[in-house]
Amino acid sequence: MSHGHDEHTPAEPETPQGEGNPGGLLTKLRAKAKSPAEMGEEFKKTQVWTSIFRHKLDDSHRNRSLAVLSNVFLHLHPARINRDAVRYNFTWGMGGITFYLFVLLTLTGTLLMYYFHPSKAEAYRDIMFLQHDVPFGNLLRNMHRWCAHAMVITTWLHMMRVFMTGSYKPPREFNWNIGVLLLLFTMLLSFTGYLLPDDQLGFWAVTVGTNMARATPLLGHEGPFGPELGMSAFNDVRFALLGGSVVDANALLRAYIWHCISIPIIASVLMIVHFWRIRKDGAISGPAPVMLESEIKDD
């Protein structure tokens, strides 16, 4: 056995590990080497790091503000807020939870779309497939369903808290109105999703729901003055919603497009306006200092 290695460094075993040979290569390298913490600091000076994070990280007021303001996802927040506004008892976190549920719904909904065909032949089968064959498919479907229900509830509760804190009063009148539209579209989002499994539950719920459209005044064929205006089951507003006179293939496709594209876009735009407005109206309304009857200045 002849290893060149053995011949050139016979003394190595005697040298205690870790200390190295004074003046040797290893020692020189060790002297230059940096601790992980130092390496981290060094990395923060590189072009790669500074191109991503535009502010320092040490704990200063300036950096705490910049952490929020220089991040696209966080910058909807102001840098500072009313010290009591973070109390759970004021907002109940309801608006934020509603938004977070919308995010979860978008994620799970997109994943569901990979497995779903909006056609009479395939829709129901696809749901069965999701439940029994797709890995985690059942969990995915359940999450989407229950998040949708939860979002309707949290939207109602959010509206109630906004009312109870009088937060629709000036200057927030307009944002309350955006909120009312969000309330409507949240329920429509949920409603259009109900039909998609193409089962008895969805079919009859949507039948009951859209039957009301028959009775729309002027525009429905069973509504007051509808027949007088020439409405029939084949040209009225219900026909437009369903793409037919009964809930069938076209209704499924329409519900799908409303549910997956149109309403999410409308709701997202409204949410962008809603959040922007909260900032522009001077952040959330309170908890504001209480005002007394005797201090009202009526002009």
Binding site: S65, V68, L74, H77, A79, R83, V86, F90, W92, G96, L104, I127, M128, N138, N142, M143, R145, W146, H149, V152, I153, L157, M160, F163, M164, T165, G166, S167, Y168, K169, R172, N177, L183, L184, M187, S190, Y194, P197, D198, D199, Q200, W204, A205, T207, V208, M212, R214, A215, T216, P217, G220, F225, V247, G286, P289, V290, E293, S294, I296, D298
Partner: protein
């Protein structure tokens, strides 16, 4: 008491959200009123003591001179938001593992589901179908609800209670809103979910849902009780009754407001006041129709060849 029926209803996966609603709505109502009580106590104290008015920071939370009035969003708000996100995620995952979303038989237009119900959040409107023609329950009332909600900031001119919970400073506004939300919306949803069975008939909680039950109850229209006949007499009778009802409700409400809330009336323009009274009268007509139908089996107040109210 058919506990099996109760359990079937309550444990139906799609009804679980309503059970949740049943718990959360009262919880948050109480929470809001507790916060309001804290503020109302503070308000009373400040009204009594002019000196305190100048020095107090006017929030019922601890504060010392020198403390900043604002805090950094990072970390004080963001840590709470991240925590909330984690909790919501955990709750939703556990919920989704424990309960499966329902999937019935494939859609079958020739096999009617009985009862066939809209999704639970629309059951309040479906319940209104009992009391109103479909065009009112399904189209007019939802539109008025939305328009009424949108009008709130423009007709509530009370400058008090902007950004804090209070009851004493906003009794009328809060009372009206909560009546509409808790009774006319949430309660009707709950009735639609748990009480309305096959044929949309009324089954008390715990009563077995009998699919063969036939309702022999006869409903009358108001004019029948008064023996009015003939298309036009009936038309004008109903019109007069609804007109009189609105006038009485509107008049009483007006008197009440002028007597007990004169400041509110003074601050409102005529248009604001008229809109507010209109919405109030409409709400009372809904209440009157529900009571008339459930307690006195009276269906319509106003019958015309084109529509009934």
């Amino acid at each position: 008491m058919d506990w099996n029926q109760v359990w079937t209803l309550v444990s139906l996966p799609d009804n679980v959200p309503i059970v949740l609603l049943l718990l959360m709505v009262p919880f948050y109502t109480v929470l809001a009123f507790r916060e309001a009580a804290k503020n109302d106590r503070l308000i009373a104290e400040l009204e009594r003591d002019p000196d305190l008015r100048k020095s107090h920071h006017r929030v019922p939370y601890p504060w010392k001179p020198g403390w900043p009035k604002t805090v950094h969003v990072w970390p004080h708000l963001l840590k709470r938001e991240f925590l909330a996100a984690i909790i919501v995620t955990a709750v939703m995952i556990v919920w989704s593992i424990c309960l499966d979303a329902p999937l019935e038989e494939p859609a079958n237009p020739s096999l009617t589901m009985n009862p066939s119900k809209a999704p639970w959040y629309f059951l309040g409107l479906q319940e209104l179908l009992v009391y109103f023609d479909p065009w009112i329950a399904g189209v007019v009332l939802p539109s008025i609800i939305l328009l009424g909600l949108m009008a709130i900031p423009y007709i509530d001119v009370n400058p008090l209670g902007n950004g804090y919970y209070t009851w004493k400073q906003r009794k009328f506004a809060i009372g009206t809103f909560l009546f509409g939300f808790l009774v006319l919306w949430v309660l009707l949803v709950i009735i639609g979910t748990f009480i309305r069975g096959p044929g949309w008939l009324w089954f008390n909680l715990g009563e077995t849902w009998d699919h063969h039950r036939v309702d022999h109850q006869v409903n009358y229209d108001l004019h029948e009780l008064f023996g009015v006949t003939g298309t036009w007499p009936v038309f004008f009778f109903g019109l007069a009754f609804l007109g009189a009802f609105s006038a009485v409700v509107g008049g009483l409400t007006h008197l009440w407001i002028v007597k007990c809330m004169p400041a509110m009336r003074k601050r409102m323009s005529l248009i604001q006041y008229a809109n507010m009274l209109h919405l109030w009268i409409l709400m009372m007509i809904v209440v009157a129709k529900i009571i008339a139908r459930l307690a006195f089996t009276v269906k319509n107040f106003w019958v015309t060849p084109w529509f009934n109210i």
